[in-house]
């Protein structure tokens, strides 16, 4: 067992345990904090996979933006969920059953993959980050998805502001 394998196993275990706490924790703020642990574990796994830029993006976008947004949403919608009442559906065992069945199906699928036991391929000599950067602005490669993503983000920005605004204008003093 090499050092990398031990690092993978420890990180994977932490990620999974934090994920279980995200879905099982009775307090939603705790669940959001566990979500940060789980996302950080995935960032470490990205580093193990030699995707350093994606690991940084994971920390900046997921931990820095999405997790904070979730915590804000939990705090803004606190009055009714004042840690009373059940946090899970009464049929949660059905959800557990479906998740287990789905895992069984996924396992049966991925064990049939020809690449299931593949070991790491050699990285190309060229820097993959430079390649990633140029491919995003190359008309013949990934310029179109890049531009579509930017328009999507703009639309989401405007949409989120329009949706979250108070219903009538005089609630905000005619703003």
């Amino acid at each position: 067992m090499t050092v990398l394998q031990i690092v993978f196993l420890v990180t994977g275990l932490v990620t999974l345990l934090a994920g279980v706490m995200v879905v099982a924790s009775p307090k939603l703020v705790h669940a959001a904090l566990w979500l940060i642990v789980s996302l950080a574990g995935v960032a470490v796994l990205f580093v193990l996979l030699n995707a350093n830029f994606l690991a940084v993006v994971q920390v900046v976008v997921y931990i820095g933006a999405i997790a904070i947004l979730v915590i804000f949403a939990v705090m803004l919608t606190r009055r009714v969920m004042a840690d009373s009442g059940p946090t899970h559906n009464p049929t949660w065992w059905l959800a557990l059953l479906s998740a287990l069945v789905l895992f069984g199906g996924l396992l049966a699928l991925i064990t049939q993959l020809p690449a299931f036991g593949a070991t790491e391929a050699a990285l190309p000599a060229a820097d993959s980050l430079t390649d990633l950067g140029t491919s995003l602005v190359d008309v013949n490669r990934y310029l179109l998805p890049f531009e579509v993503a930017s328009v999507l983000l703009l639309a989401a920005l405007i949409g989120a502001m329009a949706v979250a605004r108070p219903a009538s204008e005089d609630e905000e003093g005619g703003a």
Partner: protein, 102 residues
């Protein structure tokens, strides 16, 4: 060396945890957290396939970046919807948001 199968099994487990969260949580914010876990599992899968099968093609990383962008917009719009619903109906429990349910 870590075989590809470890990553695939880990991301399958993470995805199923997310599915359980989406199905079992009553709070809409909790459901969104489950969706984030599922998207992370998908990202892990994409990057693992890129690293093990086609490290010369950058497409796997570009795909992951697009998923990041979609996840960010989904979280922003979803949480804005939840806050808007909370403001009008004073609830974030998915069962009680039943205006358009039969």
């Amino acid at each position: 060396m870590i075989p590809l199968s470890w990553y695939l099994i880990l991301s399958a487990l993470l995805f199923c945890i997310g599915v359980f969260g989406v199905l079992a949580r009553r709070n809409a914010v909790g459901i969104l957290m489950g969706i984030e876990l599922m998207l992370n599992a998908v990202n892990l899968n994409l990057v693992a396939f890129w690293r093990y099968l086609t490290p010369g093609m950058i497409g796997g990383q570009v795909f992951t970046l697009i998923v990041f962008a979609v996840a960010a917009s989904e979280a922003a719009v979803g949480l804005a919807l939840i806050i808007s619903i909370y403001r009008r109906r004073s609830t974030v429990v998915a069962d009680e948001i039943n205006l358009m349910k039969w």
